[in-house]
Amino acid sequence: MRSKLNLPQDKIDRARALAASICAPVLEFIEQHTTVTVERATLRLLGADGASPDGIPVPNLVVDALRDRLGEGVAAWYANALLQTGLEQAELDRRIAEGFSIATLPMGDRQRALELASELAARNFARIDANRAFRQAKQEEYKGRNHSPLLYLIVATGNIYEDVKQAQAAALHGADVIAVIRTTAQSLLDYVPYGATTEGFGGTYATQENFRIMRQALDEVMERERRYIYQTNYASGLCMPEIAAMGALERLDMMLNDSMYGILFRDINMYRTFVDQRFSRMINAYSGIIINTGEDNYLTTSDAFEKAYTVLASQFLNERFAYAAGLQPWQMGLGHAFEMDPSIKNGILYELAQAQMAREIFPEHPLKYMPPTKHMSGDIFKGLVMDNMFNFVSKATGQGIHLLGMLTEAIHTPFMMDRHIAVETALYVMNGIDAIMDEIEFRPDGLIVRRAHEVLDRTVQFLEEVERIGLMQSIEQAMFADIARPRTGGKGFEGLVPRLETYANPVEDRLERALGLAH
């Protein structure tokens, strides 16, 4: 890619170095801790499945039972239960679901238990490997048939069966990526609901069964259209690693998965989130999933023009945390958004500048670009045009993943026809300017180029400040998104557990080995 902005490489390098130094102490903290959901995700990847009659998943039952021993890791205890009871895994799970507590069983041969856990993991990892291979094969088979950028559409009816209809219609019409929005407040549940669900507010529960149902529906369209359809969900909130595990098992292709979103936008405890994000990201890394980070959210609470640098700063941090979890650049769908006040003179040019800047700073990353939301209004006609200027900027700067805006953004979650209009118009614009990336240059020293340089400068300054203060304290001081979060406040803090010397986790070992992260 030819540079159009001539951003100084030394500043970019400096920002990356600052990000590394900012994240280092946090990574150290992460290594010394586990959480309830890390342990539950581990159980899921050992194959633990099922739920109690009142809907509490087996992994939760196990972790709750072993609440005081989590510092050792649950894997050995779960495998121990299999050894001690001699039951088939499915049968053990059934018993647990019925109320049997494995905490009542004494530890037998811990080494053998860990070996068994390792074998159990191997089985599930084989399924993930197969998923990844299948995806690769299909993407190879249907190469060149997806749009560039990938057209990403959300469905959010609350009912998985209704979602399926909408998703298939969208995919038939041109969507490359279908994201099922989660129901309001699922991120604050410290468990993952079980089974197919038909009731949600503004979104549909993320459950493993719902994942499976949607996967099957999208695969159908894939074969018909001979175009790979990406499925997306949210490895976010209080169950990040578990949802990543479910996604790995059901062949999701993308996951919303940010290192700090839960802290800032869901008031989840920061220690908890940092630990959870790493484990979830290792799973995503292993399963070949592309993560989507949530920088767009910054611009819904703070001003998009003033605070553009917070987006770039967060991208550097997300990138650093992602590397530390074994993700490759092609898996890092770093987020940004077209969110400036539409009345700003030259606002569209500033958006162009920033989108191009992100592209040049993260050249191998499939940036995820978000449409206008905050300044959308009941004026659906103006909104449609705003969405299409966003479509224009996205195509003109070669973004990777393009979330289609909805003309009814300010009104309701998308109707089927809203999605239809979005696809129809985006295809028109993007086809009409297909070659634009190679065609257009920016005037050196014009306002586009200057804007990008300014944002980068400001980002470096900001990261310097964060480095000086420390990441956690910066969050306490509302330096991100104008939101202050105390270190020990927020949801889920009680689920954080220091690792003991004896901590053992064959799933994590396997991930770290495969990802080259072993220390």
Binding site: E162, D379, T408, A410, H412
Partner: protein
């Protein structure tokens, strides 16, 4: 059993509809309430006036989303024409004419009255056709005469008589103040007054023309947007050979 269908927003039968319109009222909460009540008066419920913008001191533009309980019985709905009846291709039509009619079919067409929009009738008649569908002039077994625009009805009729036309094609694009209705009605009246109605297959066309409307005005068929020459030719030759 009746199959009642209703608008669909994101759930079966939710009845969701988008509307926009202008009212001659100032912009403000009273205007918004007027808009809401009006939509309500059309039988909608859950009327949300999501946008109100002043266009001048006396006019306001509204966008509304609302839901309806109304539904219609799909089983009783008849299309303007039978969707399943497929048109023949140019080659099939030529073969059909050779076999069943045995001579060239003569078609005369024009855009009549004050209407100057030739592109539509040209799309049907001219050699090059439209959207990669050849026009009637290209058909080996059809003799097509396109008289162009702003042709008086009487002149078109005389021309058709003089050339022994089998079918007359009339294009009407402008519909303002119902001008297409006037022109098409006059055409049929003229034919009938001269005792010529039975002599020709009469076809009307244009973006706002439907088969039903054309039939009501006394034509044999009507064709709207997205028509190709083969649709018209198929109709003509089938009608000519219908016993």
């Amino acid at each position: 059993m009746a199959t009642i269908i209703r608008p669909y927003g994101d759930t079966m039968n939710d009845g969701k509809v988008q509307l926009s319109f202008t009212l001659p009222v100032p912009c403000g909460s009273r205007g918004m309430e007027a808009a809401r009540r009006l939509v309500h008066a059309w039988g909608f419920h859950e009327c949300e006036v999501v946008h109100a913008a002043p266009m001048s001191e006396e006019f306001t533009f509204f966008v509304v989303y609302a839901a309806t309980h109304h539904g219609i019985d799909w089983d009783t709905v008849e299309g303007d024409r039978d969707d399943s009846e497929k048109s023949m291709t140019m080659d099939e039509i030529n073969a059909f004419i050779k076999e069943k009619i045995g001579r060239k079919v003569v078609v005369v067409g024009a855009c009549t009255g004050f209407d100057a929009h030739t592109v539509g009738i040209d799309a049907i008649m001219n050699m090059k056709g439209y959207n990669h569908h050849y026009g009637l002039e290209r058909y080996e077994m059809i003799e097509a005469h396109n008289l162009g625009a702003q042709v008086p009805n009487q002149k078109l009729i005389e021309y058709a008589c003089a050339h022994n036309a089998d079918a007359i094609l009339v294009s009407q694009v402008v519909t303002q103040k119902e001008s297409h209705i006037h022109t098409l009605t006059e055409f049929i009246e003229l034919l009938e007054a001269q005792g010529l109605r039975g002599r020709f297959i009469c076809i009307a066309g244009g973006p706002r023309i439907t088969n039903k409307l054309a039939a009501k005005l006394g034509f044999d068929a009507g064709f709207g947007r997205g028509t190709y020459a083969e649709d018209v030719a198929t109709f003509i030759v089938r009608r000519m050979t219908a016993s």
